[in-house]
Symmetry: none
Amino acid sequence: MNKRESIFKTGIRLFAAQGFEATTTLQIAREVGVTEPAVFYHFKSKNAFFSAILEQACTVYVDRIDMLAIFADSAFERLAALIRIHFAVVAEEPELMRILLRTCPARLEDPDSTCITVYRKARNRLQAGIREILEQGTASGEFNSVDIDATANMLIAMLNGLMRQQVAGMDTLKGVEAATIEFCRRSLVVRT
Amino acid sequence: MNKRESIFKTGIRLFAAQGFEATTTLQIAREVGVTEPAVFYHFKSKNAFFSAILEQACTVYVDRIDMLAIFADSAFERLAALIRIHFAVVAEEPELMRILLRTCPARLEDPDSTCITVYRKARNRLQAGIREILEQGTASGEFNSVDIDATANMLIAMLNGLMRQQVAGMDTLKGVEAATIEFCRRSLVVRT
Amino acid sequence: MNKRESIFKTGIRLFAAQGFEATTTLQIAREVGVTEPAVFYHFKSKNAFFSAILEQACTVYVDRIDMLAIFADSAFERLAALIRIHFAVVAEEPELMRILLRTCPARLEDPDSTCITVYRKARNRLQAGIREILEQGTASGEFNSVDIDATANMLIAMLNGLMRQQVAGMDTLKGVEAATIEFCRRSLVVRT
Amino acid sequence: MNKRESIFKTGIRLFAAQGFEATTTLQIAREVGVTEPAVFYHFKSKNAFFSAILEQACTVYVDRIDMLAIFADSAFERLAALIRIHFAVVAEEPELMRILLRTCPARLEDPDSTCITVYRKARNRLQAGIREILEQGTASGEFNSVDIDATANMLIAMLNGLMRQQVAGMDTLKGVEAATIEFCRRSLVVRT
DNA sequence: GATGAATGAGTGTTCATTCAT
DNA sequence: TATGAATGAACACTCATTCAT
C-alpha cells in the first residue's frame, strides 16, 4: 500500500473537515500512522501539500465541466446538464469540493504551486461555458433575451451557492436540483 | 474616544481582511495603539471577541431582513426587495458581511457565546421569509406553482452565492442585481 | 534583578563557548532559569539577539581603540599602546572578544541589525590608527622607511593572530606581549 | 570517475564556503548528484567525513612545513621560507586552508577520527620549526638575542593572522608578504 | 554500490493567555 | 484601566542517520 497516497487521502479528509490552518501536519501524520517528517518527505511543505490537493480538486471539477462539450442538443439542455454536474460532483467528491469552495483566494497565491493556474482555468471554463449557452440560446430564439454578462454572473453565483449548500448540509435535498432546473427553464425558455 | 469601540472596529477590519486564524490579538492591539492584555480586558478571549463581532454581523443582517415585513404589496415585490436588501447590506457593511459569510460553522459552535443563536435566527428568518413569499405568491395565483421547500432552498443558495460574489469581487457589477430580479420575475410570476 | 540582563550575559557566555549555531535558544533559557519564549520576548530573534551581543563586543573594542588618541608622545609609544590594548581587552572581556573574533562574515550581514556598521567602524578605526602611526613615525624620522599599506596590513594580521591566540589559550603567556613590542621596536625604530 | 572522490571534493568546497554546521549532507549529495545515503556509505558520519577533510588539510600544511628542513642556509632564510610557505599554501589550497583555520577546537575533539593527532602534529611542527630557527639564529650570532618562547609564540600568531587575512580577503596584496619578511629581517638580523 | 523511504530528536518561532503591579 | 513580563502548548520544518531492498 502506497504511503504517499495514504497521506494524500488523509490530508483531503482533514483539510475538508477542519480547514487549512486548523489542520496540523502532526495530526495528518498520526492519522496515517507515520511520523511527521514523513509528510515532509513526500511533500515539500504544508503549503505545497495543500496546493497539490487543491490542484486535484480543481482538476476534478474542470474535468466535469469539460465533459459538457458533448451535450449539444439545445441551449437549455446544456444548462440543465451544467446544473446537474454541479450537484453530481459534490455528491461524488464532497471533500474535494468542500476544500475547493472554502479555499480563500489568499491561499491560491502560494508561489510554491501551479495551483492557481488550474483554479483560474476552472473559473474561466465555467464562465465561458455559461456565456456560450446564453448566447446560443438567445441567438437561436430558444431563450428570452437577457443581459448576458449579468445573467451569466448571476448563474455562476447561484451554482456556487448551491454547491456550498450541498457541501455544508448533510441532508442533500434531492428536490433542489430539480427545482433549480425548472426555475431556470421557466425563466429562460421562450414559451410556445 | 472609547477604547473598547476602537478595538472592536479594528477587529472587524482585520478579521474581515485576514480571517480569524490569520489575525493575532497582538496585531489588533498594535493597530489600535494599546497593549495586548488590553484586548483581553475588554473581551474575555479571542473567541469571545470574534463572537461579539459575529453577533453584530448577524444582527445587522437580521435587522435588514426584518424590515421587509412592511413591504407587503405583492409577493414578487417582497422577493425583489429581499434580493435588493442582500445587495444593499453588502454595499453598506462589506466587512461585517465578509466576516459573516466566511465564518466556518465550526467557529459558530463556540461555547463562549450566544452567537450561534443569533446566527440561527438569521438563517431562520430568511428561510421563513422566502417560504412565506412563495406560499403567498402561489396561493394568490400571482406565482406559478412550485415545489416550495426546494425552491426556497434554491433561492437561499442563490442569495448566498450572490452575496459572496459581491463581497469577494472588487468589481461590483450593478447589472447583476437587476438581472437577478428579472430572472426571478420571469420564472415565478404568472404571465397574463 | 533584571532578567533581560541575565539572558544577555548567559548568551555571551554560551555563544563564546560554543559558537552561534551550536548554542540553542532553549539552552540559553534553561541556564537563565526562564522559558524559551522569554528569550524571544526580550529579543526579536536568535539572530537579533546575537547581533545585539556582537554589537556590544564591537563597541567595547572600538572604545579601547579610540582611547589611544590621547597617547601622542612618539609613534612607537602609540604602537606599543595599541598592542597593549589588544592584550588588555582580551584579558578584560575574553568572552566578547572570542565572539568578535569567531564571528564569520556571513553572520554580520544579518539584515536585522546595525551590527555590521559597528563592526566596520572597528575595522576602519584600527586600520586608520595603524596607518597614521606608521605615517607619523616615518615622516618624523623616528621609524625606518617602510611600505606603509603593506606593513599596516601585516600589523593588523599580527594583532588579530595574537588576540586569537590569547582568546584560545587558557595559558596567557605574559611574555608574548613584551616580546611583540620589542619585536616591533627593533624592526621599526631607527637606531641612533 | 570516482564517486568517493567527487563527494570528498564537493565537501571541501561546501565546508570551506559555508562552514561545518551550515553545510548539510543532503546539500553535499545533491551537488555531487548522488543521494544522501551514498555519502554515508563512503563516510561513517558527517563528523567523520569532515575529519577526513580536516586531516587532509592538516597533511597538506604539515607537508609544506616539513619541506623546510632542506633549506638550511641561514636562520633568517629559513624564517623567510617559512613565511613564504604560509602565503603559498593559501594561494595553492585556499579551501583546505580556510577549513583548517575556521575549524573550532571543539570539532577537533571528535572521537571518530585521528584528525586531532594530525592537527597537533601540524601545530607542533610549526612551533618546533620556529623555535629551532630562533635558537639557531641567536646561537650563531645571526639574530639579536630574544625571548625565544615568547617570540616563537608571537611569530606563530602572526603567521596565523596573515593566513586568515589571505584566506578571507579576495584582494591578495602581494606586498604584504615582502613587508612581513622585511619586518622580521630588520627586527631579528644583527646589523653589521 | 546505491537508493527510496522513513524517523528521532531537535530548532527557532508564534500565540493566546495570565498575573502582579 | 492598562501594562510589562512571562509562559504552556503548539507549530512547521530540518537534519543526520538507518535500513530493507
